[in-house]
């Protein structure tokens, strides 16, 4: 499959395509903010009492001061517009449960989850490509069937149950991996560059910290990868089969190219686009799975933050989470679409 001829015309189309996608994304983002904000408004509880607790909430002066501080005495419309206005300045508001700026909270929580998701995607991708290609080449034989059953099982395992089981087995019984949290309590976290402890430790030249962080990542990544491997493998297999069946693959072999050349040259490149889309979707589903996994491994990530925020009726924090998650998903989709657009000219022109 040869890529389109690059000329000024093609680049112009690409830019127009990007612009269109960017505009759609912004509209979608606004929609997400609107929806999440509305959700928090229909919440039946009074967040002030929830945050102040029993004792303080019976003191009217404390309650009034609190409401004023968080702007809860204004009507909904004003609150929404104030929120959007602040958003444009990068201010997501202050969390009622932690008392800190939500953007600061999220700046810590998002990388924690992203780190798991990143390694899970890498591991899943690697394993899925291997298993899927293997299944495709051994099509119809025992290997294929076994892999098929394995993927179906992987799709059926409840994540939270797997998390508990592996934790009990690998940590409590076998002591093969480290305990809960991102690093052991005796170590200090690395200076923040990316928020990813593994990368930051490496940049800081701290090998003890690096291996400790990896040890803590092992179980969450393993558990989250299971489901993703199951979905990806099947898709890789189908994509590879599809390409193998294509005329150009058969033609290549008819021309006498060796099997390996066929796969590298045509199969994986042909399958790359659909696989890429699925990786994007996998990232999104990983963000979902983390809520359940973080609870078991005491991981201070986005899932835990979202759970505590919705439980504590911390409205601004919930909206903030919705926003960030929406942004991440949109960015991933945008990147995938752009790559599609770059690699497949048919998409650009549609």
């Amino acid at each position: 499959m040869s890529t389109a001829v690059r000329g000024r015309g093609a680049q112009h189309t690409l830019l127009r395509f990007l612009a269109r996608r960017a505009v759609t994304s912004i509209i979608l983002l606004f929609g997400i903010v609107l929806v999440t904000f509305s959700l928090t408004v229909i919440v039946p509880g009074d967040p002030v009492r929830a945050a102040l607790g029993e004792g303080a909430s019976s003191n009217p002066a404390t309650v009034a001061a609190f409401r004023e501080k968080y702007g809860l005495d204004q009507p909904v419309w004003i609150r929404f517009f104030r929120y959007v206005g602040n958003l444009l300045h990068g201010d997501l508001g202050t969390s009622m449960t932690t008392g800190r700026p939500i953007s600061a909270d999220l700046a810590k929580a998002v990388p924690a989850t992203a780190e798991i998701a990143l390694y899970a995607v890498i591991v899943s991708f690697a394993v899925a490509v291997v298993l899927g290609t293997l299944a495709a080449y051994r099509r119809g034989k025992v290997t294929d069937e076994v892999i098929r059953v394995v993927t179906l099982v992987g799709l059926s395992v409840p994540t939270f149950w797997m998390a508990i089981l592996t934790y009990q087995l690998f940590f409590m019984q076998l002591h093969w991996v480290s305990g809960s949290g991102r690093i052991s309590p005796t170590l200090t976290p690395p200076p923040t560059v990316t928020g990813f402890y593994t990368i930051d430790y490496m940049l800081n030249g701290d090998s003890v910290g690096f291996f400790d962080a990896v040890g803590h990542l092992a179980l969450p990544v393993l558990v989250l990868s299971l489901f993703t491997i199951a979905t990806l493998t099947r898709f890789v297999r189908t994509s590879v089969l599809e390409v193998l069946d294509m005329d150009y693959a058969r033609a290549a072999r008819a021309k006498g190219l060796s099997g390996r050349r066929v796969v590298v040259g045509y199969v994986l490149r042909g399958a790359a686009l659909p696989i890429l889309t699925l990786v994007g979707i996998a990232f999104g589903s990983l963000l979902s799975g983390t809520v359940l996994v973080e609870a078991v491994f005491a991981w201070p990530g986005l899932g835990t933050y979202a759970y505590n925020a919705s439980k504590n009726l911390d409205l601004l924090a919930v909206t903030g989470v919705g926003l960030i998650v929406g942004v991440i998903y949109l960015v991933i989709n945008l990147v995938v679409d752009v790559l599609y657009g770059v690699l497949d000219p048919r998409v650009r022109l549609s």
Binding site: I27, L28, G31, I32, T36, L39, I42, P44, A136, Y137, R138, R139, G140, R148, V149, L152, V153, L155, S156, V157, P158, T159, F160, W161, I164, L165, Q168, T238, L241, E242, L244, D245, A249, R250, R253, G259, R260, V262, V263, G284, S285, L287, S288, G289, V291, L292, V296, G303, A306, Y307, S310, K311, V318, V321, G322, V325, G326, Y329, L330, N333
Partner: protein, 306 residues
């Protein structure tokens, strides 16, 4: 994903499909297990040796003759609760999927058939809902509506309908241009009749595949929400809540193992069924089946084997 339904998939072939699905041992196993669980759910009051709410057994007792799966923290029989748990989760999961399917296909059909700005608006809404990770959205909805199994189901329906809309829309778009559909309209059938007679039967396949695979996802979502405390409320016996209690009592291995296995087997059963259905109803997979052993594809595969 562009699933253009080939014209070959006309009535003549459909009749042959059903028996073919059940030729796979996986499908058979899946059907047996799924039916087994449905029987358990229906016959729960007769199968369970104890009242799932009665707290008269010794607390946290390991499996024994009296309680074959042990007892939980309040002295209730785990086996009885497991059996009644089927009664809680399975019907609700089925209901969730059916509702999501109906809503999704209606939205997708409207978008595909009517086109224009209706299509744009509906698809943007679909995208917006899909842009959210399922569990987080379901969590926020369940938390705002108040924790209850019914609200968890509502949250589940809200996150589950978009894929049906998407797939229905692309199928409808493809079918709109098919000759027999156009012919039908030319011959005078109303849009509704055309939709019902020519379009819907051909959508049914992929949609049903999605639905059957979705049942497993629905069960996982409902038990996940219950695990977080946002689904089934006490003292209702539900597998997710039972696993949650296992988190607090790590030495009582029987609390988490059996409900987890229950979820695993039910979901696996439905996934096996769905997967086999996909093989026969999904035209892409159907093409694979046609190109069975002595054809170019597997010959090529054998050649290039590493």
């Amino acid at each position: 994903m562009n699933l253009i339904v080939p014209e070959k998939l006309a009535p003549r072939r459909r009749r042959a499909l059903l028996p073919r699905a059940w030729r796979s041992p996986l499908a058979v196993a899946g059907t047996v297990v799924a039916l087994g669980w449905i029987v358990v759910a229906v016959l729960a009051p007769w199968i369970a040796p104890h009242d799932p709410l009665a707290q008269d057994l010794p607390r946290l007792a390991p499996p024994s003759a009296d309680a074959i799966m042990g007892t939980d923290g309040t002295g209730r029989d785990v086996f009885s609760r497991l059996v009644y748990g089927a009664q809680t989760t399975i019907p609700l999961a089925l209901m969730l999927v059916v509702c999501a399917m109906i809503i999704g296909t209606v939205v997708g059909a409207l978008a595909g058939y009517l086109g224009g700005w209706v299509d744009e608006v509906l698809m943007r809404v679909t995208d917006m809902v899909m842009a959210f990770p399922t569990v987080i959205l379901a969590m926020v909805i369940a938390a705002s509506l108040g924790p209850s199994i019914l609200n968890a189901v509502i949250a589940g329906i809200i996150v589950a309908w978009p894929p049906y809309a998407r797939i229905t829309r692309s199928l409808v778009l493809g079918l709109r241009t098919q000759n027999y559909v156009i012919a039908g309209r030319l011959l005078g059938s109303s849009p509704l009749r055309s939709l019902l007679r020519d379009v819907l039967p051909n959508i049914a396949g992929p949609v049903l595949v999605l639905a059957s695979l979705d049942i497993g996802t629905a069960i996982l979502l409902l038990s996940g929400l219950s695990f977080l405390g946002l689904g089934a409320q006490p003292p209702t016996a539900e597998w997710g809540t039972m696993i949650a209690s296992a988190v607090q009592n790590t030495s009582a291995w029987w609390l988490g193992l059996f409900p987890g296995l229950a979820i695993l087997t039910v979901v696996m059963a439905f996934n096996f069924i769905g997967d086999s259905l996909r093989d026969v109803l999904d035209p892409l997979a159907a093409r694979e089946r046609e190109a069975e052993s002595p054809t170019a594809v597997s010959a090529a595969a054998a050649e290039v084997a590493p």
